[in-house]
Amino acid sequence: MRFREYLLRRLLLFIPTLFCVMVLVFILSRMLPGDPARLALGPDAPMSQISALRYSLGLDKPIHIQFLIFLENLLHGKMGLSLLTNRDVCQDVVQFYPASFELALVSMTIAMAIGIPLGIVSGIKQNKWIDHLSRVVSLFGVSVPRFWLAIIFILVFSFYMRIMPISGRIGSGIPPPAHITGLYLIDSLVTLNIPAFVSSLKHIILPAISLSVSPLAQIVRLLRAGIIEHKRAPYVMMVKANGMPEDLINRKYLFKISFIPVLSIIGLLFASIIAMSFVVETVFSWPGIGRYGSNAVLYADFNAIVGVTIVAGVTFIIANFVVDMFYGYFDPRIRYG
């Protein structure tokens, strides 16, 4: 019952945050120097045409009405034409988003699948060789530029060893799997399209690993610190003195409480993956929202920039909401506090 209340409260907080993000994006988009109508029509356009376009874009209305029009268009899935693809930005987003989402999910999975065990072992076996190794790995992970690591991966695994593809999402001779979710790995599994699955798995590994190094490192560092801190806590000493087996103490008390700070930054790590996908997607020519967005900034495709910002912001807010849900589940103090 209380948990449901907590969820509802989080959900209600979600709306003003989303609204503020929209306001921020809108304000920034109206700071563009020059008149959008004149920019769209070019310097030689007659005044009558410009004012006609201003009228049809709603630019002659007061700013708060313009904001409402902006929101209304957004709800109808209209974000304006993209200069690069010459279609509505919304269509582009729908096309490119699943690729990025898939990449982010796979990198987050890699980061957690390696980071959590490594952090636990490192914390329990403090100052043993495995701990030193994982500290070196994690320090390397937070310090290495991801775009550079991506290039080095391509150099080593694609050019020299020739075991990984250089770029793209799926092999050129293989037709993409039937569109169900837009995530190639899932779609090809569901339709039992094994060649497509293998090919898309091979294509996603290098970009996903390059994106996951930094989140992985941060998970290891936090988890290690948490376990070391709680290992000597009085309540752990107490159960130890009572003769509870080490394994059971770890599983029942230590891991759960040390995991809470990790959970709290997973939303942030997700954000860093989304943000860094801009560079990593560019390196691997991954047809996702990041590459689309960085091209948009490079060619000053303003509608596309606004669209990508909104999508990234919304993804981040939803990710944080999901994390908050787990957070309340793991740590009752948060639910009831």
Partner: protein, 297 residues
């Protein structure tokens, strides 16, 4: 009155010096932090003295020696040459000026904006405080690099705009950090006595409360320098920073990408320098964190 003031100042000055020397003593035992300081200072000095250290200072600009292009590392060009025949090492020494400058300025600007807002929100509180903290939440709810991209999209690519864009997205963390510290310090007796003695709120905020919140801020700034270098280099890599032929580490990595795999040195070496800078500053940050015994994310 003046005399007492003078003597308290003297005592506090002595206490500062003592803790400073104790700090040096403690950090001396942290080998990794010393290594970090050594590496980062060398990189910094290398960039400051670039005009004297670079073997071919003219190569930092738009010099073209096509006969020298794509030379692999040798005694003549220790890190090789690029497509225009320019010496990579010379370009790295000059390029670091841009990358490191961005890395140092961004957290400092972010911290000054963020700390001031955090102090105001925590100390004055009430309505202004909640407005500031809600705004902070909004900024925290969008990935910083994305806002930076939006800002650069509006104002156009340049190093100045990268620094500007990243600085304005960097402050929310400091606001939250300082706000938390202020809330816990606000009710302390020394703050109350300062207030009772009739100090203005600005004085209480900046000379009573802020000094007590300094350790976590310093650690955070140090660790953030690394993140700022990585982010600035990433934006440079996307071509949103300095314009060629000006060298910048991220941009150099990107330029070399076209000539892979045979010409590997153009891309590899600037990347190693970015890594070294961030790695060393992280070692320093970790050392400081242990030294000052604070928890900073």
């Amino acid at each position: 009155m003046g005399k007492t003031n003078y003597s308290t100042k003297l005592i506090s000055c002595r206490a500062y010096l003592e803790s400073f020397f104790r700090g040096i003593y403690v950090i001396r035992k942290n080998t990794l932090a010393i290594v970090g300081i050594g590496v980062f200072l060398s990189l910094l000095l290398m960039c400051i003295f670039a005009p004297w250290l670079a073997p071919y200072p003219e190569d930092a600009g738009d010099a073209i020696h096509l006969s020298q292009s794509f030379k692999s590392p040798s005694m003549l060009h220790i890190l090789g040459t690029d497509q225009m025949g320019r010496d990579i090492f010379s370009r790295i020494t000059f390029g670091g000026r841009n990358t490191l400058l961005a890395g140092l300025i961004i957290p400092l600007v972010g911290a000054s904006i963020g700390c001031t807002l955090g102090l105001i929100a925590g100390y004055i509180g009430r309505r202004i405080g909640s407005v500031i903290m809600r705004t902070t939440d909004v900024f925290l709810s969008i990935p910083p690099l994305i806002i930076a991209l939006l800002v650069i999209g509006v104002f156009g690519p340049s190093l100045k705009n990268i620094i500007f864009a990243l600085s304005i997205v960097w402050w929310p963390w400091y606001t939250r950090l300082v706000h938390g510290e202020v809330i816990s310090l606000r009710e302390e007796t020394f703050v109350e006595s300062s207030r009772l003695l009739g100090a203005k709120s600005t004085r209480t905020m900046f000379s009573e409360i802020l000094p007590n919140a300094i350790p976590p801020i310093i650690v955070k700034i140090t660790l953030d320098i690394g993140y700022a270098i990585l982010n600035a280099a990433a934006l440079g890599f996307l071509g949103l920073g300095v314009l060629p032929p000006t060298p910048e580490w991220g941009l150099m990595v990107s330029q070399g990408r076209l000539y892979l795999p045979s010409i590997w040195w153009i891309t590899t070496f600037p990347g190693i320098f970015i890594f070294l800078a961030v790695f060393s500053i992280n070692l320093i940050g970790d050392g400081l964190r242990d030294l000052l015994d604070v928890e900073v994310m």
